[in-house]
């Protein structure tokens, strides 16, 4: 078999079938996928959660993960943030002609491992190959479906004054890990991407409290984007405390080096939760017993002032607004 992906691999003929059999089904196989019918058919009942995301991260391999792991965790997490139990994912590849098949297999292995950890099945897939130059190596799209348990109502619009804001762990790890690999930056950070599936963590949090009001994973735009979204959707104010926000020392240094505010850096294995005050402590305790919540902390609360805005209490005891991020983070000299 050729060692690189050719246009023919995406054209539906023998090469395509061989690729699907050897590189995808053999690794990801399950009773639904193995049928290789045009659609996956299965029974589901209850309130469905449904989401889609495309993954275009560059570089595709980074410390702590790769685009395959990201593609599974990102969609699993989006489902989890609605309180859903994730069940099935679709997996679509757009591959640039010339891509190494061994790299593709590494990525598919990552997909399989992440799916196994999250307990989800890849039910449907697709592969397209485009001319060299028409895609940056590899793009992946995953859509996911899950079931929201009865009585669970989680939304960015549910925050209430008095609620506590909890973060599940250290901020900025993923953004900095990916950035450190980019051409032109060349620094080494001992902290890998935090890319992880959070569905079990969320399930445990839901077992502990019926008063989980909001959940979101602070991906692009970081904590700042997510908390601003909550504040605007719920029309409340949010106060956070600078001292209580967990950030790895190395990540903080990398941010200082490049002129980034860690509150704006992406995370792929963290969540922000807004919880009724009576339940905050026990939810926090439960989170800390999960491997993905060890460094969880209460970082602030919801208030009835400065509606729609997030304010941070600085180390010095003054306060400043934490605004919505604008555009991509660019290293600066000033």
């Amino acid at each position: 078999m050729e060692d690189r992906i050719l246009l023919a691999h995406g054209s539906g003929g023998k090469l395509s079938h061989d690729l699907i059999a050897k590189s995808f089904v053999s690794t990801l196989g399950n009773p639904i996928l193995n049928k290789l019918d045009d659609s996956a058919v299965f029974e589901l009942s209850g309130r469905l959660a449904f989401t889609t995301d495309s993954y275009v991260v560059s570089p595709i391999f980074f410390p702590g993960g790769d685009i395959g792991k990201l593609a599974v965790c990102g969609t699993v997490n989006d489902l989890s943030m609605s309180g859903a139990t994730p069940l099935y994912l679709s997996l679509s590849f757009i591959i640039e002609e010339g891509f190494l098949i061994t790299d593709l297999e590494k990525i598919v292995n990552s997909v399989q491992q992440a799916a196994a950890e999250a307990g989800v099945k890849i039910a449907a897939g697709d592969t397209k190959v485009v001319n060299q130059g028409s895609a940056d190596k590899l793009f992946i799209n995953t859509s996911g479906v899950g079931i929201v348990p009865t009585g669970v109502d989680i939304s960015g619009a549910n925050a209430k004054p008095g609620d506590k804001v909890i973060v599940s762990g250290t901020l900025g790890d993923h953004g900095i890990a990916v950035l450190s690999q980019r051409e032109g930056l060349k620094f080494r950070v001992p902290v890998p991407s935090d890319c992880s599936p959070l569905n079990r963590l969320v399930a445990e949090m839901l077992e502990t409290s019926a008063n989980l009001h909001c959940l979101r994973d602070p991906t692009r735009g970081g904590l700042a984007a997510t908390l601003n979204e909550f504040a605007q959707q719920s029309q409340v104010g949010i106060n956070i405390d600078e001292e209580s926000i967990p950030i790895n020392k190395a990540v903080l240094s990398a941010c200082e080096l490049l002129g980034f505010d860690p509150l704006y850096v992406a995370n792929e294995g963290k969540l922000l939760a807004v919880v009724a005050p009576a339940d905050a402590d026990k939810v926090l305790a439960k989170m800390k017993r999960n491997q993905y919540g060890r460094e969880a902390a209460i970082i602030g609360e919801v208030v009835n002032e400065h509606l729609g805005r997030v304010v941070m209490n600085t180390r010095l005891g003054a306060s400043r607004i934490v605004d919505m991020p604008v555009g991509e983070l660019l290293p600066r000299i000033c």
Binding site: F187, R188, A250, A254, E256, L257, G259, R332, I333
Partner: protein, 72 residues
């Protein structure tokens, strides 16, 4: 203007040095601070050391800060 952060010099190789900032490491140029030695802290600005940090002065400044604010 001018983001510059303290970085610890771990090794030197001609005009270049390897520095460490709380675990973050990078190759930088020491062309502007030829007097630097391993173990020094430098001010790192856009991949160049722009000065060697005077550790004695750093301690004196902290001492001054403590003295000035003692009565308040």
């Amino acid at each position: 203007m001018c983001l510059a952060i303290p970085a610890l010099v771990k090794s030197i190789n001609g005009h270049q040095a390897e520095v460490d900032i709380d675990g973050v490491t990078r190759q930088i140029s020491i062309q502007l601070t030829p007097e630097v030695r391993v173990g020094d802290y430098v001010l790192l600005h856009t991949g160049y050391a722009i000065n060697v940090i005077d550790e004695a002065e750093a301690e004196e400044t902290l001492q001054l800060l403590r003295e000035l604010s003692e009565a308040f």
